[in-house]
């Protein structure tokens, strides 16, 4: 920062600027927006996983009073949109508003009813009959990979992505290893389950031939660019606004058919058209994730040092390759992050992503890192047991040491620098590891099934243009923008393309701007989530907003500060270098004269001729800057969990959960803690409760929140979070992204804790969620095996 003073606002537990409206029910979520003459959509969705559509009979439905129109794919000429990739052998799939000719998953929308109310639309939808010719259901990914039956007829197989990579000599490492541990791991499907269901309101202005789409999306810029292409409209006439959004977690980070649909309908009908998902539709059609089988083997020497790791990763990516990320997104990240934060030179992985007749897979908090951490952290504990090492000691010996950064992993990812070992030690101190072990040992002697689990992980966050989630995907994730401006009243506005949906960016970005300008946090109005408000942006995903938008905020804040001081210097007849701004008041060192920002704003904009002509051509109090961190940075943590299992019900209770994390410089510790807490609980859900189930015919069985169980406060322990507050080296501001870590470390830590609790039965947790039924089966098999 330009002034050398210690930042006043960055690092403080500033109260959130979002809170007043959200606490008083005055938020504006998409479904809250009620435009005059709006029409409402109900969708007829496939109950077949794989079938040709023979006919759609709408006669009775069309007679229902209040129905304005009924639409199928034939009514639209918009071309299918493909998520592109340069990856060799990648097969793309086309995204359309409604299913065209065939359906590929239960829940895929076939027909749309537009009516004066959602009630009437649903009445009519119930009268629509779709006749199908069923096709073979491809539900098991291995069977789908081998099958001649194709989900997408122009494909050569159902394998959408297939990659191999190797570094070092894994075969040699395996052959020479004293100890090898090998397992097949299964992480079952999840859905992000934001409490706000997806909702879209399209408002096509006939007079201006311009569309505004209010979307509960994380990525308004992505949606806007995609819609301009699909609708064949110039970008200046397509605006996507993400207002208040009720959580996303990745499930709102892709383009959805319904976004295209309501836009087409509004343009056709010349009235606003709204569709709000109900929870059943959310469970059927919001993108799902974590559906992997990983066969992996780890080789270690007799001191427990990691020698080699090999893995075969099978990703079940559902019926379509998600736009814009592609189906490669998660499986490739499993492979990329599997070597973890450890010293490991020899690594080999094969990745296959297979299309099946299930909901399309997409991003969910952590993406491939939760599965990667689960697999590696279990293998490390398994190896530790064979070597005779405590799990913490095993990690201590193998984590990348501080003097080894930057460290290139076996997958090619480079850890620039992060406190891997510091986090491990801090976590152990935080729980008082020896005391926790003593507690576990005493519980065990008393016959209780009590276990401790540790998990360490690392990830890349705040990635810039030199890193791509999927090479050749159709979006630019490497840059963000910020515009800071001060108006004639001295009011400060900061505009960004990122889209906050719970992470408090209206506050944290305001804290940065407040420090750069010298104003109070509450005086900075943050605009976000509006594609028309910025030159270009994508949105909020991949733990990027603090680093990228924050970096841009620093740059534009500094630039505006310089302009303010230039103007103030003229007005005060002083030297700009002698001026300072604090709480919006500009003062000169050693002098009595002050100016408020309001006075400067008025002078610049409203007092005609106040400044000399030669100053005025460039005189405004506004700057737009862009920031690309190029590589981004490393974020890491160690999670420690203590669990107890009821030997009669097999219910796992998480008794204690502590995280020690390195997330770089903290802007707002309260908000950072909140992010970690939320991620941990989603991780607990992933480890113990959450599973999207499709039966052998691809029928979606997780149809309500009674089937898909998300943790409540009663299933959640007190959460403890410790931070290393050390600035990252490679990012402007020293920030690291940190929103996803909770889901990355928690399933692994809990899997290790459960395995520890059941170690007396030699049970190894290799499948999540570890539901009571799964634990019951493992325990019964172990006991019967001993009988």
């Amino acid at each position: 920062m330009q002034n050398d003073a210690r930042p006043k606002h960055i690092g403080s537990r500033a109260q959130r600027l979002e809170d007043p409206r959200l606490l008083t029910g005055a938020g504006g979520f998409v479904d809250d927006i009620q435009l005059a003459h709006s029409l409402h959509v109900a969708l007829v969705r496939s109950d077949h996983a794989h079938a040709r559509i023979l006919a759609v009979d709408v006669d009775a439905a069309g007679d229902v009073p209040g129905v304005v129109g009924i639409y199928t794919a034939d009514d639209f000429t918009a071309k299918p949109l493909h998520a592109t990739s340069r990856m060799k052998g990648y097969q793309s799939t086309g995204l359309t508003a409604l299913a065209n000719g065939k359906v590929r998953y239960v829940g895929e929308a076939v027909a749309a009813v537009v009516a004066e109310s959602r009630y009437i639309a649903e009445d009519a939808a119930n009268l629509i009959n779709v006749s199908y010719a069923p096709l073979p259901d491809l539900v098991d990914p291995r069977a789908a990979a081998a099958s001649d039956v194709l989900l997408h007829e122009r494909h050569v197989s159902n394998v959408l992505v297939s990659r191999k990579f190797a570094r070092g000599d894994v075969a040699e490492a395996m052959a020479s290893a004293a100890i090898r541990v090998k397992e097949s791991f299964r992480f079952h499907r999840k859905t992000p389950l934001a409490i706000e269901n997806r909702s879209y309101l399209a408002d096509f202005n006939k007079g201006k031939q311009a569309l505004t789409l209010y979307s509960s999306t994380q990525v308004p810029g992505v949606i806007r660019d995609a819609l301009a292409e699909v609708l064949e409209m110039p970008g200046h006439s397509v605006r996507v606004v993400a207002p208040d959004v009720g959580g996303g977690f990745g499930g709102k980070a892709s383009l959805y058919p319904e976004e295209i649909l309501v836009s087409l309908l509004s343009r056709t009908l010349g009235q606003p058209v709204k569709w709000t998902s109900d929870r059943l539709e959310d469970l059927l059609t919001t993108s799902q994730a974590f559906d992997e089988t990983v066969d992996a083997e780890l080789a270690v020497d007799k001191e427990g040092r990691l020698l080699g790791l090999k893995a075969e990763i099978l990703g079940d990516v559902g019926a379509y390759s998600i736009y814009p990320w592609t189906a490669a997104l998660e499986p490739m990240q499993v492979a990329g992050f599997l070597p973890g934060p450890y010293q490991l030179a020899n690594y080999q992985a094969e990745v296959v992503a297979v299309a099946t007749n299930k909901t399309p897979a997409g991003p969910y908090r952590g993406v491939g890192r939760p599965a990667a951490a689960f697999v590696l952290e279990r293998l490390i504990d398994m190896a530790a047991a064979k070597v005779g090492l405590d799990p913490v000691e095993m990690r201590r010996r193998n984590l990348v040491q501080p003097d080894q950064f930057p460290y290139r992993t076996g997958s090619g990812i480079v850890w620039d620098q992060s406190g891997f070992t510091d986090c491990l030690e801090l976590a152990c101190q935080g729980v008082d590891y020896p005391a926790l072990q003593a507690e576990r040992n005493a519980a065990r002697r008393a016959g209780r099934w009590f276990g401790i689990g540790v998990a360490s992980y690392a990830e890349l966050t705040g990635i810039g243009s030199r890193m791509s989630a999927a090479p050749g995907m159709p979006i630019n994730t490497g840059t963000e923008t910020a515009t800071v401006e001060i108006d004639a009243s001295g009011a400060v506005r900061a505009t960004f393309g990122v889209a906050s949906h719970g992470q408090g960016l209206e506050t944290t970005l305001a804290q940065i701007v407040a420090d750069e300008l010298g104003v109070q946090v509450g005086k900075v109005q943050v605009i976000h989530g509006d594609s028309a408000a910025v030159t270009h942006s994508t949105g909020t995903y991949a733990s990027r907003s603090t680093v990228l938008a924050g970096g841009a905020a620093h740059l534009s804040g500094q630039a505006v500060r310089a302009k303010v001081l230039e103007a103030a210097a003229y007005l005060l007849e002083a030297d700009a270098d002698d001026l300072d701004i604090e709480d919006g008041i500009i003062s000169e060192q050693g002098a009595n004269k002050t100016l408020s920002l309001a006075e400067v704003g008025r002078a610049v904009y409203s007092e005609m001729g106040r400044f000399p002509l030669e100053m005025r051509a460039e005189l405004d109090l506004r700057a737009t800057k862009f920031y690309d961190p190029e590589f981004g940075t490393t974020t890491s943590a160690t999670h420690i969990a203590a669990v107890e299992i009821d030997p009669e019900t097999f219910i796992v209770t998480v008794k204690r959960f502590l995280v020690a994390e390195d997330c770089g410089r903290l802007i707002n510790p309260m908000i950072v803690d909140g992010q970690v807490h939320g991620g941990i609980v989603q991780g607990i859900g992933a480890a113990l409760f959450e599973e999207v189930v499709h039966d052998q015919n691809g029928q979606a069985l997780s149809a309500s929140l009674v089937d898909y169980v998300s943790p409540s406060a009663a299933e959640t322990p007190k959460l403890e979070v410790l931070h290393l507050d050390t600035a990252a080296l490679g990012t402007l501001g020293g920030y690291r992204g940190m929103g996803e870590g909770g889901t990355i470390g928690a399933p692994a830590a809990i899997a290790n804790a459960i395995s520890d609790a059941l170690s007396h039965l030699n049970i190894n947790i290799t499948e999540l969620p570890a539901t009571p039924e799964r634990i019951y089966r493992l325990v019964t098999a172990a006991i019967e095996g001993d009988a």
Partner: protein, 174 residues
């Protein structure tokens, strides 16, 4: 043609007389007919709790209530609890403890917490979690919500609030 019923429903102290279809949900009546969009819809089957309001002072799921069932009764929504610049005790504690992130579950949390306050028992951490178990949140992990509710309960009712483990920093470098 569905025959409408005439009802009078008092919401946040104001009586509203309307003719509505018997099948109309209370959530839709509040949100669309009265424009009170603070009550949110998360599941429409009574599990997530986002739609929780107070019906004659007791918590109820607005998504499982037909609006006609509220005829002659009093509904309190989040809009009736406090306003910007004059937050209720619970709203103030939620703000202080960062007990909300996206804000979508918050009105329902506040309604349930409000009932805990009026029920008048100073609760333990476990009891608060049990009482909140009918309100799902995906953002906060509940930690800060529990602290906010605990502090509100103990301020109103006396006793010792739960203080969370303090966010710690790493041990100072040597």
């Amino acid at each position: 043609m569905i025959q409408k019923r005439s009802v009078t429903i008092t919401v946040n102290g104001r009586a509203h007389a309307q003719d509505i279809e018997p099948r109309r949900l209370l959530t839709d009546f509040l949100r669309e007919d009265l424009g009170l969009t603070g009550t949110h819809v998360g599941c429409e089957h009574g599990v997530c709790g986002a739609c929780t309001i107070l019906l004659d002072g007791a918590s109820a799921r607005a998504c499982l209530c037909l609006a006609v069932q509220a005829d002659g009764r009093e509904v309190t929504t989040v809009e009736g609890m406090g306003e910007i610049g004059a937050l209720s005790l619970l709203q103030e504690k939620f703000r202080k403890h960062h007990a909300l992130q996206c804000g979508f579950c918050t009105p329902g949390m506040l309604a349930t917490a409000h009932e805990m306050l009026t029920d008048g028992a100073p609760l333990t951490d476990g009891e608060i979690r049990e009482a909140l178990s009918g309100n799902l949140c995906r953002c906060t992990g509940y930690e800060h919500i529990v602290r906010a509710v605990s502090e509100a309960l103990h301020e109103r009712l006396g006793g010792q609030a739960i203080t969370g483990p303090v966010t710690g920093r790493a041990l100072d470098a040597e």
